[in-house]
Symmetry: C2
Subunit: 203 residues, 2 copies
């Protein structure tokens, strides 16, 4: 656990501290995440932590940015396989992450929604990365495999679908309504197909 035991570059040590911060957030809200708690967890002094983070707000912003990067990284779809299966794999990682970090994730969404510009930018950048990816690299195969054509209308709808996924997953975690995780994942992936299919029917 201690960040002092191993010799690391300052950048690498900072990343390690941020991972600890993300871990601490899994069980508490953002406003309850203090530099003191991180100092305890990392086994290093509060004074040393101020070497890495100028203050509580900078610490919070850095932890949220780290969490957002993690969400984007772990949900990267595999580069091969059936397009719909790729999407289900990506959604599985997302649902499992949100389930394991629900309190943190909800406080992230709330901080962004409440209108703080910097929180909002981190959130919007992550969402853009998540949805733009569907139009890049492996994602292109998914889209093309499903017969959809890139354009402003499809991008707007895919963005809307990502809002649907977030809302649906948070709602399902609060009350699963007897719906199993695999059925949820399958429905959300199919919903993208249904939503994206709209573009070809209306234009």
């Amino acid at each position: 656990m201690s960040a002092t035991r191993t010799r690391l570059s300052p950048d690498r040590r900072r990343e390690q501290l941020l991972d600890l911060g993300v871990g601490l957030l899994a069980g508490r809200r953002l406003e309850d995440l203090s530099i003191d708690a991180l100092a305890d967890e990392a086994g290093i002094s509060r004074g040393l932590l101020y070497h890495y983070f100028a203050g509580k707000r900078e610490f919070h912003l850095a932890v949220l940015r780290r969490m957002a990067d993690q969400v984007v990284a772990i949900t990267a779809p595999p580069s091969e396989g059936d397009p719909l299966a790729q999407m289900v794999t990506s959604l599985t990682a997302y649902v499992d992450f949100v389930a394991a970090n629900r309190i943190a994730y909800v406080s992230f969404v709330r901080a962004a929604a409440a209108g703080d510009e910097e929180f909002r930018r981190i959130y919007e950048d992550a969402r853009a990365a998540l949805t733009d990816r569907i139009f890049d690299h492996a994602g292109r195969d998914v889209l093309e495999g499903l017969g959809f054509v890139d354009g402003p209308a499809l991008r707007l709808l895919v963005r809307g679908w990502s809002a649907m996924v977030e809302d649906t997953v948070l709602s399902w975690l609060e009350d699963d309504r007897g719906i199993g995780r695999d059925d949820l994942l399958e429905m959300l992936a199919q919903a993208l197909v249904g939503v994206a299919g709209v573009v070809s029917t209306t234009r």
Copy 2:
């Protein structure tokens, strides 16, 4: 404009004052909506207003409740016609309301998302009313006309679709990406069909 000119019951006058409050919110954020501004607009004294609202927070809650009720009322789908056309009519009223009251609507969504329990309840009640309606009365015809069967999975997805509509409309109002209003409405209505169609394919 003046609420003092006509003889009204206290309840009716309160409603009239709330309509003025909703109107004032069209051009300013919730935190900038003061009882003073309402007193000016209504042409009555600040003291008299405290007869209707105990304080700023009660006034804000009542104005948001009134706005939520208005959204639910004006978006009621017509009781007749092609199911998809009914949905487009309802969505048209929603998009036009959000366009005309964008600042107010965004501050409503943000107040709810930021986690204030009372704001949140007003917002969630309105969303529940909007989506449950799809399963009642005229809405049933829409669903049945489209061949979908009521159940927890469909309700969860329709709720998710409503999050998609809200996000997409707010995003489109910020930047229309060259997409016309009629195309947007058609796409959102079709997206409900696409999303709801998932239930029959997966279960």
